[in-house]
Amino acid sequence: MTRDAAPALPPEPAGAPVAETEIARVFRQEYGRAVAVLTRVLGDIDAAEDAVQDAFTLAVQRWPSAGTPPSPAGWIITTARNSAIDRLRREAGRLDKQLKATLLQAARSPALRTPEEQVITELSREGTVDDDRLRLIFTCCHPALAANIQVALTLRLLGGLTTAEIAHAFLVPETTMAQRLVRAKAKIRDARIPYRVPHGVDLPARLQPVLAVVYLIFNEGYSSSSAGSFTREELCREAIRLGRLLAALLPDEPEVAGLLALMLLTESRRGARESGGALVLLADQDRRLWDRALIAEGQALVRQCLRRNQPGPYQLQAAINAVHSDAADAAATDWRQILRLYDQLLEVAPGPVVALNRAVALAELEGPAPALRLADELGLEGYHLFHAVRADFLARLGRADEAAGAYSSALHLAGNAADREFLEARLRDARLGDGRSPNAGPVPGETAGGADAG
């Protein structure tokens, strides 16, 4: 850098823009924590959200000039708490009777009076705060709430996604999503859905919807037809973040580790699974584009699960993906191992979609004819991937006309653009009588995992 070089650009304004990205980062990272803590302290989700929103509004005003505080999370939580007390004083006359009672009780509670230093100490001590987030996940995923509501609430309250972002990701108008969230929060309050981690015998059953929600968020991000690619990546990242959180908080639940491993191993292939808007099959992917760090982490988790030897659907799907990740190229895939894992998966989670994926593995070992016979017994005519799989078997058997017919059926049922792009290309190949390479798995979703093949 020389003094006489004329500056091509005006100097970066110090402060403001930097601080705003910093606040956005803190928001995404700390929103869920802050809402979880405040929900415990205030006993009301809406009041907690309002308070945390106030705190971030204040951060936007103050941090650019005053600088980011040493513990942004501590600052946000303390400020939100103070704002809740102010709001209570200001709006006491207008508040709903019940809410006022809970807030008054909270205002008197020692938790609301803890000084900022103590909040920061609490935050740095793993435990209390993370427990709050875990409580909040179980509240959001309570079986008394509909599945789509569970997903939306989790993204809103723990992920800090805006209502508009969630509405966009799930293809519903923003007002519809806003109404759903309002109704769900009213139900939590009025029906007194508890803010608590279920324990003992209740935990495994109550964990199911929590894992399902996280996996749904991941799949929505991974295979969604609709949203722009930015939102999709964000959803996957959010699901993995929640998965890591759950794995850290519930280290004794093997399915939690299994789900995290499944997501990491699937995510590791993101860079290789699409080319020019069309899906690239697992067999055709450039494996140099796979994320080795994610694979290593996922495989380590799978090994942990194997040692524990309490297999469940997520762990088995993760193990299947781990076998794929092990193969240097498609030809090196250990299909025998994959078939064994599908047999196990069928035992713990029987269903036609798992059976269809098993048929794909069988075709690699015993050829397309027996696999086609198996697939035809599954009664999956309404599922686009069933037709895609059949089409592939037929093409490999040299029955090009039938294969073209099956690809048309698949195309007719497929909703997602990348799937359609893929199927259209296959249909063209089939019409040209191109039998395709024998190892190319026909399932467009390229994950070998059962229910997620999409």
Binding site: H142, A144, R192, I193, P194
Partner: protein, 113 residues
């Protein structure tokens, strides 16, 4: 503490045969005793069939009286229990017991207070 209405929904039609109904009634009585012992029981009642129902609605300055239930449905409210419980999970626990005793679906609704 909050109160919850546990509504028992049963299909329209004749009551089950005594040999089926008898053990159900015994289970129900046992559950009522259990609820009372646990201090959650507030009130419970079984209802006569819907063909004993009458609907009254305000019309102009008077009321209109009509025969029959408010809504013609395949399932109707056959009885209910009001309980006092700490939260929804506790209420759902009791509802599960009520569902097992009656062999019927139970709707759980919080009472406004």
């Amino acid at each position: 503490m909050a109160q919850y209405l546990l509504s028992v929904y049963q299909p329209v039609g004749p009551a089950p045969a005594p040999e089926i109904l008898e053990p159900i009634m015994q289970d129900l009585e046992a559950l009522n005793r259990e609820m009372k012992a646990a201090g959650v029981w507030v009130f419970a009642a079984g209802l006569h069939p819907t063909d004993t129902a009458t609907v009254v609605r305000q019309q102009g300055t008077g009321v209109l009286i009509t025969d029959g239930p408010f809504a013609e449905t395949k399932e109707h409210l056959g009885g209910f229990t009001v309980i006092e419980a700490e939260d929804l999970d506790a209420a759902l626990g009791w509802a599960g017991k009520l569902s097992r005793a009656t062999t019927l679906p139970i709707e759980v609704r919080p009472v406004q207070h």
